[in-house]
C-alpha cells in the first residue's frame, strides 16, 4: 500500500481491463517519475473522448458525430449489412479491406451469465433498418464461440423475410491459420463437424 493519492491512482488504473496490480503499479510510477510525461494531454484526451465520442445512431459503431463515417459514406454498398458484436470487430473487418457494405453493431452477444438477453442487444434497430432500406443481404459475423453462435441462430430466425439473404461467416479453423498449427482439439472437432461441399 502506498500513501493516499498514489494508491488511488494504482487502484484506478487496476480497474481497467487487462491491467493487473503489477502493471498498474508500473504505469503509476512511470507517470510519477517521468518528467517528460504529459499528464495534461492524457487527462484532456480522456475528457474529450467522453464528451465527443458517441455511438452512431444508425449502426452503433463509435463515431464523433451523430452518424459514423461508414454510414455517411455514399460509396459503401447500401444493400449489404454485416452484423458484429462490438465496435472493435468493425475495425478488424475494415482492416481486411474485403467488405464494402455497412455494419450493425449489436453491443455484445446473448449470454444469460452476463445478464444479456435480446432486449440488451440492438436487434430492434436492425429490424427497423431492414424495413426501411433496400437491404438484400445480412452477413452475420458474431464470434465463433458458444454465445456468438447462439446469437447467430437467434438472428437468422429473426431475419427470415422474403428477398433477404442471410449468411454466416465461415468459421472453425482460425482464419489464415495453417492446419499444421491448429491444435488437436480444434482440428479434431473440425473433422467431426465436416460438411458436404455444395456442388
Amino acid at each position: 500500500m502506498y500513501e493516499g493519492i498514489v494508491q488511488e491512482l494504482i487502484d484506478e488504473l487496476g480497474r481497467l481491463p487487462g491491467i493487473g496490480p503489477k502493471s498498474a503499479q508500473r504505469i503509476a510510477f512511470h507517470i510519477l517519475q517521468t518528467q517528460s510525461f504529459d499528464t495534461t494531454r492524457l487527462a484532456q484526451i480522456l475528457m474529450d473522448v467522453r464528451e465527443k465520442v458517441r455511438f452512431c445512431s444508425i449502426c452503433g459503431n463509435v463515431s464523433e458525430q451523430d452518424t459514423c463515417t461508414i454510414c455517411r459514406d455514399p460509396r459503401r454498398n447500401q444493400a449489404i449489412i454485416c452484423v458484429v458484436e462490438e465496435a472493435k470487430d468493425v475495425a478488424a473487418i475494415e482492416r481486411t479491406r474485403e467488405f464494402r457494405g455497412l455494419y450493425h453493431v449489436l453491443g455484445g452477444a446473448l449470454s444469460p451469465i452476463d445478464g444479456i438477453g435480446p432486449n440488451e442487444l440492438r436487434f430492434t434497430q436492425l429490424v427497423q433498418r431492414l424495413a426501411d432500406a433496400a437491404v438484400t443481404e445480412v452477413i452475420i459475423a458474431t464470434d465463433p464461440n458458444l454465445e456468438g453462435e447462439a446469437t447467430a441462430t437467434y438472428l437468422s430466425r429473426l431475419l427470415v423475410q422474403p428477398g433477404l439473404r442471410v449468411t454466416r461467416l465461415a468459421s472453425g479453423l482460425p482464419v489464415g491459420g495453417d492446419l499444421e498449427y491448429a491444435d488437436e482439439v480444434t482440428l479434431g472437432r473440425a473433422f467431426e463437424g465436416r460438411r458436404v461441399v455444395e456442388a
Partner: protein, 399 residues
C-alpha cells in the same frame, strides 16, 4: 513406452531425486509416509497434468519452494524423448519436450499412463461424478476433441442454468426466456456428442472389464457395466422427478435417436426445471452403472470385490489405450494395490499385468508383492532413494 529415467526437484517431499527405471516391473518400497506415492504421482502428473490426489497443483511443490520440476526420459522403440514440466507457485506452469518449450497441455501427447490408487475405490463406492470423470478422462485421452466438446457443454449448462434460475425468480424479461430454445439446441447438440462418445467407449470397455475382473477373481465372476442415461428417464440420485420409468439399454443408439430422446426428456422435465432453476437431464447427470454377478456393485459388493472392480476398470482402460496407441503401451502404475488383495488375487493380478512394457508398483510391505514383480526394487526413505537390501525378502524395510 517406458520411463527410463525420472528426475524430481522440489516435488512433494523430494528435494532432488534421480531414479533409474527399467522395462517390466519396478517396485518401490518404504514405510508409510516416505514418498512412494509422491514418486509415482509425478509420472501420473506428466501424463495427465493432474494429480490423482489433489485438484490444485500447489500441493505438488515442496513446502517452502517456489517451483517443482518433473523430468522424464521416455523410450519407445529406438526413440528417446525428454519431457519436462515445471510447476510454479506464482505463475503459469511451463513444459519442455527435448528442451524445446511446448504448451503444458501438449505433454499428454507424449506420455500415457494408467494409474490405480486407493482413491479409485470411490469409482465403485462413490458418487456418479467420479465415474463420469473416469469415462470422460479416457474419452479425452483417446480422442482429444472431447475436451473441447465437454468444455462447451459445461458452458451451455452454465448459461442455461442461469437463465432457468432467473426465470424462477421471475426477474427475467419475457425476451430472455424466449432464448431458452436456443440453449436447448446447443445442450442437445454437445450433449449428444458426449453421450454417444461415452457409449461407444463403454461398449469397448465392457469386455475388457469382464476379462480383467475374471482374471483377478476367477471366471465364475461376471463384471458388467452400462451407461444410465437421465435422458432415458433414469434418475439414479433423484427421486422427486417425473420418470419415464424406462431404462432400456441404449446400446448403440444413433446420434439422431440420442438427440431425439434428449429433446423429449427436456420437454418432460421443463416444469421441474423452471421450478428448480437447474438443468435436470443430460450427460452431466448420467451414471455408469457397475454390476457384479447381476447386482449393482455400489451398495452390494464387498470391500475386496469393490477394490477388484475398480482395479478392473483401470486395467480395462490400459487395454483400450494399448490397442489404440502408436507409441507402445501406457505405463501401468499400481499404488498400494497388493495389501488389499488376498493371496490368490495377488498372484492373478501379477500375471494380468505381466506383459505390459512397464509397470510401477508401490508397497509399504515388501512381502505383499508377488515374487515375479520384485525384479527391480527401489527403496525410498524420507524423500530419498536409498540403497536398500537387495531383493531378498529377509529384513525388509524395518516396519
Amino acid at each position: 513406452m517406458i520411463v527410463s529415467h525420472l528426475s524430481l526437484t522440489d516435488f512433494r517431499n523430494y528435494v532432488s531425486a534421480e531414479v533409474e527405471l527399467r522395462a517390466g516391473p519396478n517396485l518401490f518400497v518404504g514405510s508409510n509416509g516416505q514418498g512412494k506415492t509422491n514418486l509415482i504421482e509425478s509420472i501420473g502428473y506428466l501424463s495427465t497434468l493432474a494429480s490423482h490426489r489433489v485438484s490444485t497443483d500447489h500441493a505438488l511443490i515442496r513446502q517452502g519452494s517456489e517451483l517443482a520440476i518433473v523430468r522424464a526420459r521416455l523410450e519407445h522403440a529406438d526413440r528417446t524423448l525428454l519431457v519436462e514440466v515445471q510447476v510454479n507457485r506464482a505463475s503459469a506452469n511451463r513444459a519442455q519436450v527435448n528442451r524445446v518449450a511446448v504448451k503444458p497441455r501438449e505433454l499428454p501427447r507424449y506420455i500415457t499412463s494408467v494409474l490405480f490408487a486407493p482413491e479409485d475405490l470411490a469409482l465403485v463406492r462413490g458418487e456418479p461424478s467420479g465415474r463420469r470423470r473416469f469415462v470422460d478422462q479416457l474419452l479425452v485421452q483417446l480422442s482429444p476433441r472431447f475436451s473441447g466438446v465437454i468444455a462447451d457443454y459445461e458452458r451451455v449448462l452454465k448459461q442455461r442454468n442461469t437463465l432457468l434460475k432467473s426465470a424462477r425468480g421471475a426477474r427475467v424479461a419475457e425476451g430472455q426466456l424466449s432464448t431458452l430454445g436456443l440453449w436447448d439446441e446447443r445442450l442437445v447438440a454437445f450433449g449428444t456428442e458426449i453421450i454417444q462418445g461415452r457409449q461407444e467407449l463403454v461398449e469397448r470397455l465392457r469386455p475388457q472389464v469382464a476379462m480383467a475382473y475374471a482374471s483377478i477373481a476367477g471366471i465364475q465372476h461376471r463384471a458388467d457395466m452400462i451407461m444410465q442415461l437421465t435422458t432415458l428417464g433414469v434418475q439414479p440420485d433423484d427421486d422427486d422427478l417425473p420418470s419415464a420409468g424406462q431404462s432400456a439399454n441404449p446400446g448403440s443408439a444413433s446420434a439422431d435417436e440420442i438427440a431425439e430422446s434428449f429433446r423429449a426428456a427436456l420437454s418432460r422435465v421443463r416444469r421441474a426445471e423452471l421450478e428448480r432453476g437447474l438443468t435436470l437431464v443430460g450427460p452431466h447427470r448420467d451414471d455408469l452403472l457397475l454390476e457384479l454377478n447381476g447386482l449393482p456393485a455400489r451398495g452390494y459388493a464387498s470391500h475386496g470385490e469393490s477394490w477388484s472392480f475398480a482395479l478392473s476398470l483401470k486395467l480395462a482402460s490400459a487395454a483400450v489405450l494399448r490397442a489404440e496407441s502408436a507409441v507402445g503401451d501406457p505405463i501401468v502404475i499400481l499404488d498400494d494395490v497388493f495389501a488389499e488383495l488376498d493371496e490368490a488375487r495377488r498372484a492373478q493380478l501379477a500375471s494380468a499385468i505381466g506383459d505390459y512394457e512397464q509397470v510401477l508398483i508401490t508397497a509399504a510391505v515388501f512381502d505383499d508383492v508377488p515374487e515375479p514383480l520384485a525384479a527391480h526394487v527401489v527403496h525410498i526413505m524420507a524423500g530419498e532413494i536409498v540403497e536398500g537390501p537387495t531383493a531378498s525378502k529377509a529384513g525388509e524395510d524395518g516396519l
